[in-house]
């Protein structure tokens, strides 16, 4: 069984952390993953930096630009992660934009992920229909779970189609926004969380966007399986460094 599915069976709220590979320093990738696991994070999203991250707000944009400037690239990330499964057992997901994956070669990329022990991919600009027609068989061949996003504007029919196509969890974008743009949840989000819960989807939902602290983590996970923190973690990382990751994670739960 894929590590993601196994993890999701645990009777607890999932804390997922996103960080940008190659930031703050080029070789921080592995130490960050190890620290996150040591501190009890359930899922880790490794961001493959892209020059034009159009779904991201300023924090992740800046970390991506800095990571690329530091010299991060796809092959290097794979090299850094080569021995990761000797020390880390937490599910690992690579999150990025489709173009770098396309240039690496989708099949070569997926093969590399399997060799390393990556469990899933989140590629927000790889659309559902293209995935199903062209790439699903490749992802499956290499045992990778593809995670799709839904937003408050996603129609019920499309949510169902996405639920059908998903095999791990659904990445539930909390509000119409780029990453790191909004903090906290209003009545609109709460209604949205409830509406999705009532749909009784086959895949658990993990909420992302707008979660930055213990309060928002609690609110986001009241009805859902877990929550993802990205921008707030990256801010903490830039200010306090890799050695203080424990402090951040303990502040969430």
């Amino acid at each position: 069984m894929n590590r993601i599915n196994k993890k999701l069976q645990e009777d607890k709220k999932m804390l997922s952390i996103y960080f940008t590979a190659g930031y703050p320093k080029l070789n921080d990738t592995v130490p960050i993953i190890e620290e996150l696991e040591k501190n009890g994070v359930d899922l880790i999203e490794i961001g493959l930096p892209f020059s034009d991250p159009l779904a991201d707000g300023p924090t992740i944009q800046q970390s991506s630009t800095a990571a690329l400037k530091n010299g991060m690239h796809t092959e290097l990330l794979f090299q850094q992660l080569k021995g990761i499964r000797k020390t880390v057992s937490v599910p690992l997901i690579i999150m990025g934009y489709f173009n770098p994956v396309l240039q690496y070669g989708v099949e070569a990329f997926c093969k590399k992920c399997q060799e390393i022990g990556i469990d899933g991919l989140i590629l927000p600009d790889l659309p559902l229909d293209v995935y199903q027609e062209e790439y699903k068989s490749i992802f499956e061949k290499y045992g990778l779970i593809n995670v799709f996003l839904i937003t408050p504007q996603t129609s019920e029919a499309r949510i169902k189609a996405i639920d059908d196509a998903s095999e791990g969890f659904i990445y539930m974008v909390s509000s119409a926004s780029t990453t790191g743009a909004k903090e906290g949840f209003g009545p609109e989000q709460k209604a949205y969380f409830e509406r999705i819960t009532e749909m009784k989807l086959k895949n658990p939902q993990i909420v992302g966007f707008g979660i930055s602290n213990s309060d928002t983590f609690q609110q986001a996970t009241q009805k859902t399986k877990g929550a993802i923190i990205g921008s707030a973690f990256i801010k903490h990382l830039s200010q306090k460094g890799v050695s203080k990751i424990g402090q951040f994670v303990k502040g969430i739960r």
Partner: protein, 394 residues
């Protein structure tokens, strides 16, 4: 029948589609489901054509350039898009899209701009319709294109600097897309070229297709035939070219010539010649040819003309290139500037530097004496005076 138009999923051959994050899916889907229906409504057609006639000043003349023709020993016609209100073809599209936005019930407009021409054309139609408008423009371009920034402000538009990445057109486009993600319900995004996710390339091409629609009957009047031997246009993202080619795409007798900006030379590292330097990839939601590193990071193009300074090219043009239907030529800064000055002195027309690239092909390529060559004169050069002054030390 083999066609070079988009299919119903927005593909031109292998290029196009909608590679967008889910946050943009509802917006693009709403547009995709409605754009053809709205464009075909008689009330839409009537208002669109009325505004093109009375406000933009269409039809624009198809002018036989006698002295230019003599110089190059062929028959050259100029399609005078430079005479459109606001000084370029861009307004054909913004008129169409503002009417589209109204039909969709949107009350806020966003746009991206590089040199500021599309920004001005968008600000103009928003003023005309009394709709709120925000234009994203790279911080560097804002400094380079002060007169157009001032024009947009006078027209009541808010110009927001794009501070991310290289702070030019591609980043302004990223910022506009991010705005749309954050405002999915009330806002319409007026993209300025035949780029972006489906249905934008096809929709913008259709709005610009008025250019070749007019060329057909104008040429019939002058030459007794609708089809020229060649249509020539400069290509950045490619909207003026898409409009000039549109009704000739599936007419094999008409040669299609696309002129890209080579900047300081194709191999100089400072170029915007996407067909020569680009590889297949995804930019701004479209699968097309784009300039990128081996690792898939999008690189920054260079051209003396801000309007050709885009690292990608519309999917229609990627397909024209790949299929061989179009002939692609790239022209350096120097050759473009020389050709622009030649047009001034032979025909009394000061072209935009973008357009000057198209005129440089007559030095690069021979035409037959009897060939009828239509050059789309996409914009006028007022906005480029600073560059012309510096270049020629006027």
């Amino acid at each position: 029948m083999k066609t070079y138009h988009a299919d119903e999923r927005g593909y031109y051959g292998e290029f196009g589609g909608a590679f967008i994050p889910e946050m943009l899916y509802p917006n693009c889907e709403e547009l995709r489901q409605n754009y053809l229906r709205i464009m075909e409504e008689p009330s839409f057609q009537k208002e669109f054509h009325q505004l093109l006639k009375d406000y933009v000043g269409r039809p624009t003349p198809l002018y036989f350039a006698k002295r230019l023709s003599e110089k190059y020993n062929t028959k050259i016609y100029l399609k005078r898009e430079d005479l459109c209100h606001t000084g370029a073809h861009k307004v054909n599209n913004t008129i169409g899209q503002i009417l589209m936005a109204k039909k969709l019930g949107k009350n806020r407009i966003i746009a991206e701009t590089g040199a500021g021409q599309h920004g001005v054309a968008t600000a103009t139609v928003c003023a005309l319709m009394g709709i709120e408008c925000v234009v994203y423009m790279g911080e560097i371009d804002i400094a380079r294109q002060a007169p157009n920034v001032a024009r947009m402000k006078m027209l009541g538009t808010e110009v927001r600097p794009a501070l991310s990445g290289s702070r030019t057109l591609k980043d302004a486009t990223n910022e506009a897309i991010r705005d749309w993600i954050n405002n999915p319900v009330d806002t319409h995004y007026i993209i300025g070229s035949v780029v972006g996710p489906h249905p934008y390339p096809d929709m913008v091409a259709r709005f610009q297709s008025v250019i070749s629609e007019e060329i057909k009957w104008q040429l019939k009047e002058k030459e007794g035939r609708e089809n020229p031997d060649y249509v020539v246009a400069c290509v950045g993202g490619g909207s003026n070219a898409a409009g000039a080619y549109y009704h000739y795409l599936d007419v094999p007798d008409v040669g299609i010539i696309a002129v890209e900006a080579a900047g300081k030379g194709i191999n100089s590292g400072e170029s915007a010649a996407t067909s020569a330097l680009g590889k297949v990839g995804i930019i701004h939601g479209s699968k097309t040819l784009l300039m990128q590193t081996d690792d898939g990071q999008i690189t920054e193009p260079y051209s003396i003309s801000a309007g050709l300074d885009y690292p990608g090219v519309g999917p229609m043009h990627a397909h024209l290139f790949k299929s061989g239907r179009g002939e692609f030529i790239s022209i350096t800064d120097d050759k473009a500037m020389t050709a622009g000055l030649a047009l001034c002195q032979l025909e009394g027309i000061i072209p935009a530097i973008e357009t000057s690239h198209a005129f440089a092909i007559f030095e690069e390529r021979q035409f037959e004496k009897d060939d009828v060559v239509v050059v789309n004169l996409s914009g006028r050069g007022d906005k480029d005076l600073r560059n012309y002054i510096d270049y020629f030390r006027l």
